[in-house]
């Protein structure tokens, strides 16, 4: 049974629709990320769960209880904000203990819990300091401790790492995941950073224009994107446009060259326009082995990226990018040179039309 249920949530402001329709079930202890570009409705959905926005339609259930109209201070969800939102007038210990003090817990219990939380975020000696005396990363850890101190049923994180520099972002995201696993707390994480979502989540809900495009594990989202949007948003991707030549055999024609897809054409008809996706890392230089796909094209560009060389190959109307490891003993292809590339039928992802999701 779902611990957190988001059912048919919609949110309309005066002229715009921020959330078109969101349905999602989250199990207890699960880490789910909302991933999508700015304005896709992910933060609005999170704010609806937190109670800061009320939905125009739909229901939020937490542990079987309808909390859709419950005020935010009675939902028992912890929230971590992008801007930390620590109370400047309070010390770190007072910030962490604020929720417990509001709940009128005994002073001894508050002190014990604050110590526990400060140890959890590895800042045990900084309880007496004020927020402005801490770095951004430390402040965000305190914000996390403050949200966790009240032992919320759900932890909500709204782009918590966006304001931090790259190195701290990576270390803090590992810390967030490790704390989440340790406490086994149900967590909803909002981000526009695919790497964050892929590395942290049990499942990812990719959002676009107020809708959930696809929900799946990071492995599923990356390797088997169901729509062109998901494929393009998560990772670097080649999108090739062609038409179905033989749906029974999985045959597609792209710029006059045939290729085979191992699945995805079950419901297609001959002549249908279709799009396929190919990750750059699944494309190799050279002729294909038996049953493999191969395509010929002209080298349009060669980018040397250190350990990797990215080659752009123009077929006709379509372009394929492929990544090869840098090998100093081999010369790089020249622009204008004709090359053959190969990839397996399993690597060809036939994309659904966005409207059919």
């Amino acid at each position: 049974m779902a611990f957190l249920e988001i059912a048919n949530i919609q949110k309309r402001f005066a002229q715009t629709t921020a959330v078109e329709q969101v349905d999602l079930e989250v199990t207890r202890g699960e880490f789910v990320s909302f991933l999508g570009p700015s304005g896709c409705g992910k933060s609005t959905t999170l704010r609806i769960i937190a109670g800061f926005e009320s939905p125009s339609a739909g229901v939020i259930r937490l542990d079987g209880v309808d909390i859709t109209r419950r005020p935010p201070n009675q939902r028992h969800v912890g929230m971590v904000f992008q801007s930390y939102a620590l109370f400047p007038n309070m010390t770190i210990a007072q910030n962490v203990g604020f929720g417990l003090k509001v709940a009128k817990k005994p002073a001894a219990e508050i002190a014990r819990r604050v110590d526990e939380m400060l140890n959890l975020i590895k800042l045990p000696a900084l309880g007496h300091r004020y927020p402005y005396q801490l770095s951004g990363g430390q402040q965000q850890r305190v914000a996390l401790a403050r949200a966790l101190a009240i032992q919320p049923q759900v932890l909500l994180l709204d782009e918590p790492l966006s304001a931090l520099d790259a190195k701290i972002r990576v270390s803090l995201r590992n810390e967030i995941r490790s704390i989440q696993r340790k406490l086994d707390i149900t967590t909803i994480y909002v981000t526009h950073d695919q790497e964050e979502a892929l590395s942290l989540s049990d499942r990812i809900a990719v959002m676009n224009e107020g809708r959930v495009e696809q929900v799946g594990t990071p492995f599923e989202i990356y390797n088997f994107p169901r729509t062109a949007f998901v494929a393009a948003f998560v990772g670097t991707l080649n999108i090739l446009h062609g038409h179905v030549a033989d749906p029974a055999q999985g045959k597609i024609v792209v710029d006059g060259q045939e290729l085979m897809a191992s699945r995805g054409l079950e419901h297609a008809r001959m002549g249908d326009v279709c799009s396929v996706a190919l990750r750059p890392e699944v494309v190799s230089l050279g002729e294909a082995a038996k049953d493999g796909n191969q395509m010929r094209g002209t080298v349009e560009d060669v980018n040397f990226l250190g350990s990797i060389v990215r080659i752009r190959l123009r077929l006709k109307d379509n372009v394929i990018s492929l990544d090869t490891f840098n090998n100093p003993r081999l010369s790089l292809p020249e622009r204008g040179q004709t090359l053959t590339v190969n990839f397996s039928p399993e690597a060809v992802l036939v994309l659904e039309a966005p409207s059919s999701t």
Binding site: H76, G78, F81, A85, F87, P88, G99, P131, Y132
Partner: protein, 262 residues
Amino acid sequence: MRGRPFISWLLLLFGALYFFVPLLGTLEFSLRYLRGRYSLVAYQIVLTDPRFLATLGYSTVLALATIVVGVVLVVPTAYWIQLRLPRLRPVVEFITLLPLVIPAIVFVFGYLRLYNSSSFLPLTGSERSTDLLLTCSYVTLALPYMYRAVDTGLRAIDVGTLTEAAQSLGAAWSTILLRVILPNVRVAVLSGAFLTFAIVIGEFTMASLLNRPAFGPYLQNIGANRAYEPAALAIISFAITWASIGLIQVLGRGSPGQAAPR
């Protein structure tokens, strides 16, 4: 380039002379009570006058009441405008500016007409209710200063996110206002409070027309009938005002967690 510092110093000197020469003149005059030598007799007379302490005490109590009512009225209003009704800001700002445009005497005549002893709400019927009316009129007078001070303080903090953070931790509106918002605009509220204090201490029109024993009418009365004592009183009032400003600085400096973020 070299001439600029000289001009700056010249302007500073001119400004200092403009402000301090009249003040020094008043101070010097206040010390000439006894012919041929300087003395503090004028100050002694003022400070031992029972009406001085009585009126100053009365105005101080009313000033404190005005500050309390002003803070209770303005802080939640400015907070709510900032949080939920930003579109109403121009309207509220216009309303808070009205006391600067409408003369105090117009307010008083309005009050006397509305709240006289034969009206539906006879606030001028007793001394205590007149004090209440006077306090309300002082709140109105100080509104432009108090609102602007608090509004500036609120704009300096992220009111929306702090409110949401407190809400997610279980805080009700009263807790959010008293323990999160108010402490973070403490310096702004103090500025508004001391400006209010300065206004109330020197206010004449309303107290005089409502016939209350305030410090303003006392100052006027002394000024109209004595020679050296008004000068001494002016210096004492000046000292009280500067002491208020000094207090803002001292209390503001001691405010925890208010330093600029790194």
